[in-house]
Point group: D2
Chain length 394, copies 4
């Protein structure tokens, strides 16, 4: 959720990018029933209906209403309903109340998408300024972020249902994995350059590119597996306060946490609720849905540590990534010379730079080509409904 800079796509490339992103959202929705779009079981988890309307609203609010001649809003009330957190663009539905909205119906929301898509395609045929092109690309990256949220939010909602609904029985995202290299990458200390460089799309929080001094360090080429994590559980890891941040241990005890999210112990076996339904935990898959607190406690238990985001970026050519968002031990803070864009899009990143930890990489739920090695994802340390995992350093 961030701001873009320069972008050198040809007009036809931009149209094609627009179509491919918008289509991908609809493909994600294909298996859903109308009722699936409505619930919001916790404030962090938005209804599918909200996700697909909000990404459409972005194009309407940030582009069509500002730049498209004679544009008529599809429905003036939708601005209020589907604004997320842009205080600069008027009032909005309280975040935790999104699940109360029976109306507009799913059909109406798809009609809204179709209307906006038609207007956007007309708009994209015109000669655009650099700023306009950047906003379109930003909107598409924004929608890609919500494509991942569509899946993670839907998984959470389905997990609350005692009937354990199946989203897709064929292709179990949580179990997709490439064979990962084993062993440790040794990285020499000294000054490293960190942050985005080049002409492509990036978010504002990846700038300014700057120097950091790193000591020598080693980073694992592979992620922690479910099997590794079961060892931690069996060794009493959740009960040993010495392994945990104080707030993490409180979180464990207040929420009676004893395993990653979505794990259920039945008759001595660990089952895992996946987008393919409830299934046995696949031991050699990368552990998933752990909080920062759990990742840090696991590292402490192994007498190692999590990498910083700078170490991760400096070493990222040495290992395959993309299966899990990887918790780092870096707080989400501005880089030197970070500046906010003017206007509403400037509300993207800076205002979240407190109390959150950086995750690097990408997950099996991230749309293709959306991430890169300078990409900075961030969540509060107790959250784990994203596809989050663990890589160790020492």
């Amino acid at each position: 959720m961030q701001a873009t800079h320069t972008q050198k796509l040809a007009a036809s490339e931009l149209e094609s990018f627009y179509s491919s992103v918008r289509d991908y959202t609809e493909r994600i929705c294909a298996p859903l029933e109308a009722e699936d779009y409505v619930p919001q079981p916790i404030a962090d988890v938005s209804p599918a209906k909200w996700n697909i309307a909000h990404t459409t609203w972005f194009f309407e609010e940030m582009i069509l209403k500002r730049f498209a001649l004679d544009y008529r809003e599809f429905n003036p009330q939708f601005g209020f309903l589907f604004n997320s957190y842009y205080n600069s663009v008027g009032t909005r539905t309280l975040r935790h109340k999104r699940g109360d909205l029976a109306r507009p119906t799913v059909s109406e929301v798809f009609a809204y998408r179709k209307y906006v898509d038609g207007k956007m395609r007309e708009f994209l045929e015109q000669k655009l300024s650099d700023q306009q092109r950047e906003l379109v690309v930003l909107g598409l990256n924004h929608e890609q972020q919500h494509q991942e949220l569509l899946l993670t939010d839907l998984k959470y909602t389905f997990s609350c249902n005692p009937t354990f609904p199946v989203y897709n029985a064929e292709n179990i995202l949580e179990e997709i994995g490439e064979i990962e290299p084993e062993g440790w990458a040794q990285i020499a200390g000294g000054i490293h350059e960190i942050g985005f460089q080049g002409d492509g799309f990036h978010f504002d929080n990846e700038l300014g590119r700057h120097k950091v001094f790193l000591n020598d360090f080693a980073i694992s080429k592979s992620l922690i597996t479910n099997n590794d994590f079961i060892e931690f559980i069996r060794d009493g890891g959740y009960g040993n306060h010495l392994l945990w941040h104080a707030e993490g241990f409180d979180w464990v005890n207040q929420n009676e946490i004893n395993a990653p999210l979505y794990w259920h112990e039945c008759d001595g076996e660990w089952l895992n609720f996946t987008l393919g339904g409830l299934r046995p935990v696949k031991l050699d898959a990368a552990v998933c849905h752990v909080s920062f607190y759990e990742a840090a406690a696991f590292a402490e238990w192994r007498k190692m540590r999590l990498p910083t985001e700078f170490e991760w970026e400096a070493a990222s050519d040495k290992f395959n990534w993309g299966l899990r968002w990887e918790w780092t031990n870096s707080a989400y803070l501005p880089y030197p010379n970070f500046t906010k864009p003017a206007g509403a899009v400037g509300e993207y990143n800076g205002k979240f730079m407190i109390n959150q930890m950086v995750l690097r990489g990408a997950s099996v739920a991230t749309p293709p080509d959306h991430s890169r090695k300078t990409y900075r994802n961030f969540f509060h340390p107790h959250l784990r409904w994203q596809f989050t995992g663990i890589r160790l350093a020492k």
Copy 2:
């Protein structure tokens, strides 16, 4: 939500009663979209899907599974999902989590209704014992209670939506009224008999019939109107602590209450969210959606009082009722010789006899022929999403 006793309907009458009640539920649902069945904005307000599945579950659980030969459950998980509060019949979904359930879909729930209706019709063709007939009648009265809840819950859910959806634009329940007689009925004191008497259906809380001694009293023949209540507001009624119960005044201040539920002041005019959408307050209609606290404060402001439930019953032949559930100043407590039926149906009423106030009468949302002058409805004193109103005594 209560237990039945004797019932003398012929077999064909029972079948006809069954059909008419079950059909009426579906007629209430006719204007709804699939999405409308899902949200639960507050714990008290169940999703429509839950209401219609729960009433069906009652017939399956209490009758078909016990008495119908070779009955096969439609779906064993539904017992868990659609049980309400019967601890004697196993675990159940937490009440405030009903809105998280995307599945089963509305179509599946209607298929469940159809399946159970088919089995019930076969069952009703058999020779039934008195107990079985009573349970069927109880189930139908139970469904009638949920018919009223379907409307009141749906109204609440729609009221949370900034687009103010319309359920039915033709026939505005809140504004239906018959011309009421004016003036006061004078009732002579002495011993009065209170409670149900006769052969017809009644709930356990209407028994035992017993004597009470009443002083002379007068009770109004008409209900308080919206116009009357606006005078209370204009006179600063919500701000004058001397009129309120201490807990009521806290409730007013903590929730910033300044009008009946669903009222909005726009440019000096009072608007009212109704099942027909947002409309000007109709001044001569009976005030609706007030809490016990508001009813009691209004009475105090008028230097009168609310009747007790005994006074109401003793005087009920003297006035028309049925527009609003009428708050009494009686706490919901057992009559002398009240006894609980054995088994799960005995969980109906006794366990709610604390911290609730009795309402008498019926409302415009109550199904035809569902209420009677001995009927005891009850809610907590701060609740007002039912069609509740005010009748004064002195």
Copy 3:
């Protein structure tokens, strides 16, 4: 906490009553250290300092400031600090914040008492109007109520301390008991007169005296003992939902209640925290510190019921009472013709007549001569820090 009516004490009797009540408060305080006067572990439990200052404030605010010539307030800030809930007499410290007040010190509060006592004695030497005399008597009855609260609040505060402080090791209030008669009193039904009659002091809620019709009933001459209650526990009473009000069973589960307040199970033995410290439960003493929910569930387990307050009053000549406040199954509501006194003292009782249950009798902590058979005490059904017990009816 209520208003008085007529009172026929001679002047010297009034002075003597004043002295004896005020002295008794100080005798209750004799064993306390300065620190004991400060904490407020829960909102319901006021600090001792607050209790003794508040009863003094009543005389200053309601009598001296209105009727004593040239009276100068001891400290104008005390009105704000030690007002309890009289909205008519200005703003006040939030009830749950009373424990934050280090100042005024205990010495200053006793100086305040001494100052007011001096002025009151001067005032009592004058010729007083009936209203003035009534206010003095009301203030003294009010102080007697706070004398009981001083003990019950102090007991609660001490019970939160892992060192289990001892208030008085000699005379264990909880274990004081007279030999109670056994068996059942049979009371004939018909019309009974209920409410205060006569010239003596009484609170407004004891009026108007009125007729009630009662069926025949039997009421136990003795209270339920600790031993009786242990049987209920052993029989799984706290786990059997069929015995409980729904809200009571929620209260049990949310608060993990498994015994009366102040009971601790150590190595299979029940210990009881008393004003004399931690001691074994005395089996033949009347059970104490049970909520209405527990009293009602116990009665249900015995297949009996609690008496109504009318039954209790009608039968009260047939048994000894005074050991425990006895929960009745009557909600706290106004009697017919109940009227509030004008002015601030009218804020006493009417505004509490919702969501509370009536207790009758008196407890071992009630000051001598403070109660009578028409006295109506009242608390919320989950509260149990008062000396509350159980008498059954059938």
Copy 4:
């Protein structure tokens, strides 16, 4: 709250250090009444009684019980009462329940201090190991931290009292200031060494000393004044969401924050509750009691930023510090090669390294000689009961 390393004090110096620190605590307590030691208005603010007992408990638990021959505990219950958060040393009173403890009395706690002081002085006369000497020094630094808390907690407690008690009318800490230099210090970028170096006392979180790369930057030589902050208020700073972190703006709105803690606007003038009572805001004093959120919003309003902790340390020779703890824009995280000491003292720092921001410097309430330029203080970003202020960078 941290661990020590090496320390080269002669035996007599250690005794003298011990005496001076312990005496200083008692001097802070000199103006207090017994009642002042008891309240705990919010969980973060401990009672004075707890602070002075806890620091004593540290010497008993960590030194005397482990190393002093034949040491007999003063009172075995005190370990439970006065342990703070050392899970390794048994159970403890819940943090937010410390204000419920009337007993032990203040006299008993001072007797405890005296007893431990006697035993400690005997202990210090012996030949100590390096580890033992380090623990003594650690305990004294720990007590110095609580000396500052004694003042800040007492100030908060007094501020809750409508009578505005005065701790010390002579010497108003909040207004003590040296004349600060004006202007900006320019610091050249490049590699800087950060962290403690040398033989003196330091906490574990100041290690390991390590290199960081900094860009060129400028840092103000002076702190933001009350006058500066009033300009921010007048310019609508608290209402302009663009200046704030999202969580900070929520905090402002939920808590209705419109000025630094302890400020009251009366008749258009800003008053400030100080340890000397309620006084007009001194315009040229450094602003105090602001949260990180307020500090960051103020910096944004000035179109500048807060320094990082590394910039602060690198520049700290260029300006006077010591008036206010200064918020940095660095999250509290471990330095490279940070290691926890073994055992209970290892519970000091590492476990707090999440969701807190680093403050550098010292405040007017910090004991003399307690801080140094590598000292890392840390609090959650919404807290402001410490003497916190603002220094800007650009």
